[in-house]
């Protein structure tokens, strides 16, 4: 067998050879001092290379990375999206009822019996009001939704799923009670 080249030596040192080939090399090494020395030389070099020291990492590197990244935009769960949309619609409806002076939908419907010109005039006024309202409401909803979402994110990070479910149920119940009470007050106002 001819003497080994460097590739064969490294493959031998890394045990990356077929068993038959390895046996041939072992046989050759028993007879060849030059190849034995070449193997020892590269074994020593490889061992030194494998023990190169770590480079120093700043102690606050992870903190710096975390400061650079903003919170990802994870997709909202369907139930949460539905909840936010429902809540927003409820808020908007309440706003409209309040601003119509307690007369609410009845006044709006009565408008249809007026003359076309009066109706158009009123509609334009209403449209302008509604646009102003919608803009304000949209801004308020955006702020509310953002705060709500941040709260949910914090909640999921800090508490267990059981506690999360309990808090969400209680919040939902409180909101529904608030809505029902609000509705009752409005209806009483209409009767008087």
């Amino acid at each position: 067998m001819r003497c080994l080249n460097a590739a064969e030596i490294y493959a031998y040192l890394e045990n990356d050879l077929l068993p038959e080939r390895r046996a041939d090399i072992d046989e050759h090494l028993d007879l060849c001092a030059k190849c034995r020395q070449a193997i020892e030389e590269r074994r020593h070099l490889t061992e030194a290379a494998l023990s190169l020291p770590n480079l120093e990492v700043p102690h606050d590197l992870a903190r710096r990375v975390m400061a650079k990244i903003s919170s990802p935009a994870p997709s909202l769960p369907v139930w949460l999206t539905a909840f936010i949309v429902g809540l927003s619609s409820l808020g908007l409806l309440s706003f409209l009822l309040i601003l119509s002076g307690g007369k609410g939908a009845i006044t709006i419907l009565a408008g249809f019996n007026h003359a076309v010109l009066v109706y158009l005039k009123n509609s334009i006024v209403w449209l302008a009001k509604a646009m102003t309202l919608l803009t304000s409401a949209w801004k308020a909803i955006q702020t509310l939704a953002l705060a709500f979402f941040k709260g949910i994110s914090l909640l999921t990070t800090l508490t267990s799923p059981g506690v999360q479910a309990l808090i969400l149920t209680m919040t939902l119940a409180a909101l529904i009670s608030l809505y029902l009470a609000f509705k009752k007050i409005l209806l009483q106002g209409e009767k008087t």
Partner: protein
């Protein structure tokens, strides 16, 4: 063990994608040393290496949704790091090899062992030998240096390196062997 480690990484990625940034911080702490060891030896400027190490994780975070969970997270992370280093070299107009470009050294010197080869590795104490290897690394062609670091400092397998660089397994092995031989010759010259 390795498979368990991969599963842990995938779980941390899943939690990160659900908005738990703390999970990503765990990944940063887990791999910051490996990335710093690689980039630091590639760019050779400490402050640049620190900045790049941070950038690797920021890039990884911003494109985490594109991570294919059938691959290893470390392989993906090292590919990001490698691309960052290549961009850096391009900007500085330092020779940067594309992923598929054949390196000159692949067609280069034979790996034959000459007669009467002097023993250089045994001439030095281990600490001195390590210092000389670090110096020799600076003079190594970039494509060899990168693979040498991944193999010996980061402990990547040849298969992982071939995947990161999209190169045939044989080419990767050959470059690592060439790198070791080049280092040995540089040690011989300097002794």
């Amino acid at each position: 063990m390795s498979s368990m480690n991969e599963e842990q990484d995938k779980e941390l990625i899943r939690r990160t994608l659900q908005g738990e940034t703390k999970a990503f911080e765990i990944l940063v702490r887990k791999y910051q040393q490996s990335i710093m060891n690689y980039i630091g030896r590639m760019v050779r400027e400490r402050e640049t290496a620190i900045d790049f190490t941070q950038d690797v994780f920021v890039r990884a975070y911003s494109s985490l949704r594109s991570f294919d969970p059938t691959h290893k997270f470390t392989t993906w992370l090292f590919r990001i790091a490698s691309n960052l280093v290549i961009d850096h070299w391009r900007k500085k107009k330092i020779q940067a090899l594309s992923l598929s470009e054949p390196a000159d050294e692949d067609r280069g010197p034979a790996l034959d062992i000459p007669d009467n080869e002097p023993s250089v590795a045994r001439k030095f104490e281990l600490a001195e030998l390590r210092r000389r290897i670090e110096k020799a690394l600076e003079r190594l062609p970039t494509s060899q240096r990168e693979l040498f670091i991944w193999r010996h400092v980061n402990g990547l397998s040849y298969e992982e390196m071939a995947e990161i660089k999209s190169l045939p397994l044989g080419t990767v092995k050959n470059r690592v062997y060439q790198a070791k031989e080049t280092i040995r010759r540089l040690l011989e010259e300097s002794s």
